[in-house]
């Protein structure tokens, strides 16, 4: 591992995998690009962002080489081509998450923007003094702060459903916190910091029974789990393109048509209007009402390419492979003296947060980085969760479809080097 090599050697996996990982790795140019003076990259920071396959990169290059124009505006050829590509991407997203109609797919900059859109548009209209918004203890800051801002403005109250020591939601407490005052319930599909997969079907059912609207932060759901928003019956589902092999600066807010339709616009500008006079402006129909200004066209067509890529491989096959890596790496990590895994839920996405006794995660991160191993260290934008588990920070390894057991082994070897230095 410490010698300069192009890529990691891969021995035949012991378990029958559904994925041809070697072929998948060939699709990702960056995985073959050495780091830190010739070391093979071991990229285990996928919960932060995933790498992009050639199919996505090429699609963006093709867009700028052959199709670039503004959308929904020009009468000329390129404008038609660009608009067609942009709207076809909407259809791709619609199919990918099982929405009923393209009108329900709003393109955003990412999950954060999607949540803020709902907080500012739906929230300002529907949440008042004394009302409550319910979240859970394992939310990312992006699913906490927009609701705090709203609650502060409206005199509403933010309630937080607790998790147990494994990092699993205490469902009875969640149910108990749902009251007639609960206007909206927002929770992550899966936790970026612990990996916990929430029992979202049950949670949606309970929230709806209490009369609340449900938003799911799907940033960590879409890359790992099959999504069918109609089957789930959630009211909003927000996710980011860059965590599912697509470009940064892209995201999707799904909303049920009737709910989106009743919402006031969020940002004003071009594209979101039907007609403007200084006296009165009429807003455009869904989903354009929520897409003010020239969108990230290149990003959106790249996102569609990413979703096509994932679909071609199959999310279930990806999940099986990632679960194998999760269990393998967990087992190996637990065998390292002094390692404690934070987040031991029964249902987890391929995310492992851990601490090493006597060594701060930041130091682990720097030492692993010298070996070409990229992990995340810190509070993972989930400071209240870190407090819940009484750790200032954790080290986090998160796995994607292109990772291998050999890379998990490299992580263990790296950790042994950390211990050599610190013990």
């Amino acid at each position: 591992m410490t010698t300069a090599t192009g890529t990691l050697p891969r021995s035949a996996s012991l378990i029958q995998d559904f994925l041809d990982v070697d072929r998948i790795r060939d699709d990702f140019p960056i995985l073959h690009h050495p780091v830190r003076g010739g070391r093979a990259l071991v990229y285990l920071d996928n919960a932060a962002t995933t790498q992009k396959p050639r199919q996505v990169i090429d699609r963006i290059v093709r867009y700028y080489s052959e199709e670039n124009s503004n959308v929904h505006r020009g009468v000329h050829y390129l404008s038609e081509v660009a608009t067609d590509a942009y709207e076809k991407a909407r259809t791709t997203v619609k199919r990918f998450i099982g929405a009923s109609d393209e009108k329900e797919i709003v393109f955003t900059r990412g999950t954060t923007e999607g949540i803020n859109l709902v907080a500012q548009s739906w929230g300002r209209k529907n949440v008042g003094a004394g009302d409550e918004i319910l979240i859970t203890a394992i939310e990312h800051h992006s699913n906490i702060v927009p609701w705090q801002l709203l609650c502060e403005e409206k005199g509403a109250r933010l309630r937080v459903a607790p998790v147990n020591d494994s990092g699993e939601l205490v469902l009875e407490e969640f149910a108990r916190l749902l009251t007639p005052r609960t206007k909206l319930v927002a929770f992550g599909h899966a936790s970026n910091a612990l990996g916990t997969i929430n029992p979202i079907r049950k949670m949606i059912g309970l929230a709806h029974a209490a009369g609340a609207v449900v938003l799911i932060d799907g940033a960590q759901g879409v890359p790992h789990l099959h999504i069918d928003v109609r089957d789930l019956d959630c009211d909003f589902y927000a996710f980011s393109g860059h965590k599912v092999y697509g470009p940064t600066g892209t995201g999707v807010l799904y909303g049920k048509e009737a709910i989106l339709d009743a919402m006031p616009p969020w940002q004003g500008g071009g594209d979101m209007i039907l007609s403007v006079s200084f006296e009165k402006t009429t807003y455009n129909a869904l989903p354009y009402k929520f897409e003010a200004g020239t969108p990230n066209i290149e990003g959106v067509v790249g996102l569609a390419a990413a979703l096509d890529y994932v679909s071609a491989i199959g999310i279930d096959a990806i999940a099986t492979h990632e679960q194998d890596l999760l269990h393998y790496a967990t087992k190996r990590l637990l065998a390292v003296e002094g390692v404690r895994i934070i987040g031991t839920a029964a249902e987890k996405a391929s995310v492992i947060s851990f601490v090493l006794e006597g060594v701060h995660p930041h130091d682990i991160g720097t030492i692993l980085d010298q070996e070409g191993i990229a992990i995340r260290t810190g509070h993972h934008c989930a400071q209240p969760l870190m407090m819940r588990f009484n750790v200032p920070a954790t080290a986090r390894a998160s796995f994607a479809m292109y990772n291998t057991r050999e890379e998990a082994d490299a992580l263990i070897v790296g950790l042994q080097k950390v211990m050599e230095l610190f013990r």
Partner: protein, 150 residues
């Protein structure tokens, strides 16, 4: 283990991380300032007891990586008993050391501070090393009660 890593995690740093000096609150502190690195969650409180122009005592509490903790520890041991003018000068010296700027002091003159010479090779870690110093600086200048690296 790469040479760079050995340079970063010198024995002085590992020792001060394991056994931080002056790692406690100060009962007679004349000033107390919190220092945060919001990106990694490092958090220290620096206590100083200033008597006229002299830093009579320094203590610190908190949590962070080996680099930040050792930096706070070495800083406290170095500056205890020095004058404010000397502290200001060393603040400048340390800043140049960890950002890789040429400084006026030789390795011998730097003393324990020389252990931080490897930090400049790790841009992501410069803030770790400088957080305690910025926090102390604020305590001395008396302008803030909270310092953030961002």
């Amino acid at each position: 283990m790469t040479e760079q890593l050995r340079e970063l995690y010198q024995q002085v740093i590992l020792d001060h991380n394991r056994n931080p000096r002056n790692f406690h609150e100060l009962e007679h502190a004349t000033k107390k300032v919190d220092g945060y690195n919001p990106l990694c969650g490092d958090h220290y409180t620096i206590y100083v007891e200033i008597d006229g122009n002299t830093i009579k005592d320094i203590g610190f509490t908190g949590n962070g990586c080996a680099i930040s903790k050792a930096s706070a520890s070495v800083m406290s041991a170095t500056l205890k008993g020095s004058t404010i003018a000397e502290a200001r000068q060393l603040f400048d010296v340390f800043h140049k050391l960890v950002t890789g700027e040429p400084g006026s002091l030789s390795t011998a003159e730097l003393g324990r501070l020389a252990a931080f010479s490897g930090v400049s090779e790790f841009p992501a870690r410069v803030k770790c090393a400088s957080l305690p110093w910025h926090t102390l600086n604020s305590a001395i200048e008396g302008d803030k009660e909270t310092v953030s690296t961002e």
